[in-house]
Assembly symmetry: D3
Homo-oligomer: 136 residues x 6
């Protein structure tokens, strides 16, 4: 029997949509007010889902306490109260769109979850805008 276990977490961060290799005009045209050079920010809400067999002994796919701790150590501590563009290594040359942040989170968590389990990341940039990434 396969089930999915999901855990919500959150972090607050500043960011700016911007490519160093584009002119300011092009950044402005494509990213609009999200390109404010002084940054803006969000309360990011994160849902991490792990799919696999339910262990017959424990009744767990994964102990949600362990999953919560992994998210806390590897994602929340790395991103919370940070400026994604300035403070976070992965975004030095990667535009921190919601899509790219979700991919970075997935890539950070994937090696930490046993390989017989599937991983999905949903990232809410605002309550009305969110993205989903499954490593496809």
């Amino acid at each position: 029997m396969r089930a999915t276990v999901s855990r919500k977490a959150h972090f607050n961060a500043a960011h700016r949509l911007y490519r160093k290799d584009w002119s300011m005009d092009k950044n402005e045209l494509i990213f609009g007010k999200c390109n404010n050079p002084n940054f803006h920010g969000h309360n990011y809400e994160l849902i991490v889902s792990v799919t696999g067999e339910i262990d017959k002994e424990t009744g767990f796919v994964i102990d949600v306490k362990i999953l919560a701790d992994l998210i806390k150590e590897h994602i929340e501590e790395a991103f919370d109260h940070k400026n994604l563009n300035v403070d976070v290594e992965e975004f030095q040359d990667l535009n921190p769109t919601a899509e790219n942040i979700a991919v970075v989170i997935w890539n950070k968590l994937r090696p930490l979850i046993s390989s017989d389990k599937e991983l999905e990341v949903v990232l809410y940039e605002t309550p009305r805008n969110f993205v989903t990434y499954k490593g496809e």
Copy 2:
């Protein structure tokens, strides 16, 4: 890398579940209080999701501002503060169940999203009742 971008929107509308070609008794039997001839209404919440490749240049699957504008122009302006049965062409001969409203929304948006991307519509009729349609 493929991801899904989702956008929430909302519209407030009146409707009635009812088939012109059925007797009032049959409408009453099948649709119950949803068949009130004087209509009732809902705050519909809508989630539109677009799945496709993340563009390497922009970091976007689709610019969520463009997606929000498409939903505003084609769905919110057409349905908001309307009586679905009376004011909206698509429901002149189609019962406005949540399922059928979701199909109509999907059909209106599908030509506006590039064909290499998948489209999904989730429509909340109330916070406790919702439907999902993917064009299958």
Copy 3:
């Protein structure tokens, strides 16, 4: 010791903002798209709060089951799946703005709650618009 007990409920209804004694032009000017003659609708969310002494025996200000039943019998059954303007007696000559609906709900519940207790009604017309009435 005084405390407040609050109970959430909901009903789905159609309505139209409109005064019979005004011209269509004036209704249009003041009420805009809320004046659609064919009606629109909402999922109204209601919070009823009762403030009074905590009964030493039961530990209740009011048994929330009794409060929930009062709301169900007197408000939900009267308003749910109704057209407020057409089907509900209280709005035959009263414009069903959120303010006026809250007042009507308060007036219906006030005689049913013992007079040593205070009553407050909060009515959400949408998740972003709501009103509060305390009988003042």
Copy 4:
């Protein structure tokens, strides 16, 4: 045309994570504070989703009123205000993890939904922890 109809419901219950065939030490090690012998509890939120063809006559995949009544009769009445470990037959020898509760709910509902339709259960143990089971 295939769509999914989803219905939210809820029940409040006590439980304890615990295996009779393990020592107290092992239960403590694996289940931590969830193994409190005196129990703790949750407001479980449940989303039941049914996927199938939209009926051309009614515009329904399944009448959501019928789905709500099935959930009420078979799940809410069986689990609400109960101690899952003590009062509910299915958990006499099954650890009531969120995963196992979701499987039990799915197994109870599956025979009640026509076999040409797919069934999915999402169970929120808390607003931050939830599981999904589709009978796979």
Copy 5:
């Protein structure tokens, strides 16, 4: 300038509404299914609000981090994953209704907040039932 700072927290607990000095029949009559001798449970959501002058230096009424830590140490650690009736001293002879739990929380926090500030506790027993206590 006076403002109110509010902090949300949560704990999961089992409880039973019951008075030792009443017969089982009377407990049953007054408390209904909340009197299940095997307990049931809730995800309690708590909002603690502190009202006072905004400090000119810091711009804080109270540092919300300090408030969060007080709630964590004195309320969450005392109540989370506990059976309120069995494990918590304050409810050995006090019926753990939402009203009484709110009073106990207020009494535990009041000495920890400086006396020139007002304190209010809102406790959600479920998303639809909640109580407010201000020490009046």
Copy 6:
């Protein structure tokens, strides 16, 4: 008859808790990770409430459309996608704590609401931290 009309709005902004006239060590000690020199950010949720007489003609305390437009023009356009410390005049010499942001919003809106009406501002910095200011 007096009622309160409330409107929710939101803006996304970067900020940093920091006093220019304090040393970096003192800023660090008092404001902790909120003092990140590279900024962090939030999705601020705002509830503006106006209390006054219900106009007998319109059934409105204030037309919520007018209230929404005032918030959009004077608050959302001034703060959304901005760095509060850098881009917003009011915070050049005022620490942008939630308390101070609420006071600034109240001061900006107060002259725009007729003086016979009361005004209250609730500002959510995160879903778990919020402040209330009424001009007292």
